[in-house]
Amino acid sequence: MSKFTDNVISEIKRDYIQKLLSQGSRIDGRGQYEFRKIEIIKNFIPRADGSALVRLGNTQVLVGVKIETGEPFPDTPNTGVLSTNAELVPLASPTFEAGPPGEEAIELARVVDRGIRESKAIDLEKLVIKEGELVWIVFVDIHVLDYDGNLFDASALGSIVALKNSIVPAQRFGQGENFPLPVRHYPATTTFVKIGDRIVLDPNLDEENIAHSRITITTNEEGKINAIQKGLEGTFTREEVLETIKMSIESGKYLRNTFILGDDQK
């Protein structure tokens, strides 16, 4: 609930987008299940232990990874710790406000976190220095720079690319040689919205602003599903949900092969 409701879209634009969709077209000419142009600059922040700047159309998200030593949680003494945080800094949108993370930032961080955690992307058991006493804590910080829709996919993509390229700074902490962060799975996250009765992948801000329902799905390289989050106040039918899950497995493959495992990064 922002004071600056610049996200409000004009009636005319709303009607135009909906009309196009009903004819099978999108406002920016994309196909129903087509991503916007994706650019990734990995290691954009050399001072971080891993980082990736993701451009998804005009949306820009910078993810930085910092790895430090600390105590494990009492109930998991023999695994490292993953901590994911998102800042919707007011630089990125007139609707974002300074201050502690609001419900949108928290939802974003928790959905991205779930994708990494539930896919067991990081081998946390290899991040134990002394069982029950000292482990590596992996901080994933999502810094949104320009908000033009679909922060979920941009942030999740930036996070896994940053993690894949992260180095555990063991030397800085007097813990021996540096080593690559052990990443063993490559979750890919895709988001769909429903506008009227049409469903599209990777909504831009205009589409997001008139969407009734949203669904974000994370799948792994075996085609299994690790996380789902339905969002917004609208509904999906069971058939729609199952269709988006199927499409997510496909689109996830594209993201994984092209941007996570592939070399299409700067």
Partner: protein
């Protein structure tokens, strides 16, 4: 999911779960409407060992004024756990999990409440988890929609839900605390019963497409059973009221 690697066996050779249920069996559920004096509407639910109260206030004024929506009411749900509701004392106040659940519950309820009828106002829904035992978001949401009805807030339908999940490689209904801690996936679902459209849908863990398909069906079928309990609770409340009226 807790995701802890353990040797705990959650389903025995006869397909029975640790609390004796079969794979598609709900825990015992008890719903009571109108249990608070001050709230405009309220409900109490026991679902397994969950004990949850929901209350509704509104439509009422919104402060500060620039938060008002001139075209409709704002529905704000607040999911809160009592300090003593969980094994290790929870520090009072909202944590990140509570904030996320408050959001998805607000979204789910907003899908059926006729918010356009009350512009510039707020409808506040408070869910207090007094004892937690897995499935609190769905149990709380189920109670909240009864509380909304009890408050006389106009709705297209109730909201009702149930979780499915995956335990020992089997898709099962309505995880209990141990299954939630040591299982492989959790799949909370809430629907509008009249249309069976999904209004809340989350998943975490590890499931195939087919497993989700199965879990979703089980959760929707079970939701329809819980829906009957919601309606009975509301009916009981109004029968009691009518009897009280007669006695006067």
């Amino acid at each position: 999911m807790g995701g802890m690697a353990t040797d705990i066996k959650l389903i025995d050779e006869n397909g029975k779960r640790i609390d004796g249920r079969s794979f598609d069996e709900l825990r015992p559920i008890k719903i009571e409407a109108g249990i608070l004096e001050r709230a405009d509407g309220s409900a109490y639910i026991e679902w397994g060992n969950n004990k949850i109260i929901a209350a509704v206030y509104g439509p009422r004024e919104v402060y500060p004024k620039h938060m008002q929506d001139p075209s409709k009411a704002i529905l704000r749900a607040r999911y809160n756990m009592a300090a003593f509701s969980v094994d290790e004392r929870k520090k009072p106040g909202p944590d990140r999990r509570s904030i996320e659940l408050s959001l998805v519950i607000s979204n789910a309820l907003s899908s059926v409440v006729l918010l356009e009828q009350f512009p510039r106002t707020a409808i506040d829904v408070f869910i207090e988890v007094l004892q937690a035992d897995a499935g609190t978001r769905i149990a709380g949401l189920t109670a909240a929609s009864v509380a909304l009805a009890d408050a006389g807030i106009p709705m297209k339908d109730l909201i009702v839900g149930c979780a499915a999940g995956k335990v020992d490689d089997i898709v099962v209904l309505d995880l209990n605390k141990e299954e939630d801690n040591y299982g492989q996936a959790d799949l909370p679902v809430a629907i509008i019963p009249r249309t069976k459209e999904l209004v809340l849908f989350q998943m975490d863990g590890d499931m195939t497409f087919e497993e989700i398909e199965r879990g979703l069906k089980m959760a929707i079928d079970a939701s329809m059973k819980v829906y009957e309990l919601q309606k009975e609770a509301l009916k009981r409340k109004y029968i009691n009221l009518a009897q009280e009226d007669e006695q006067q």
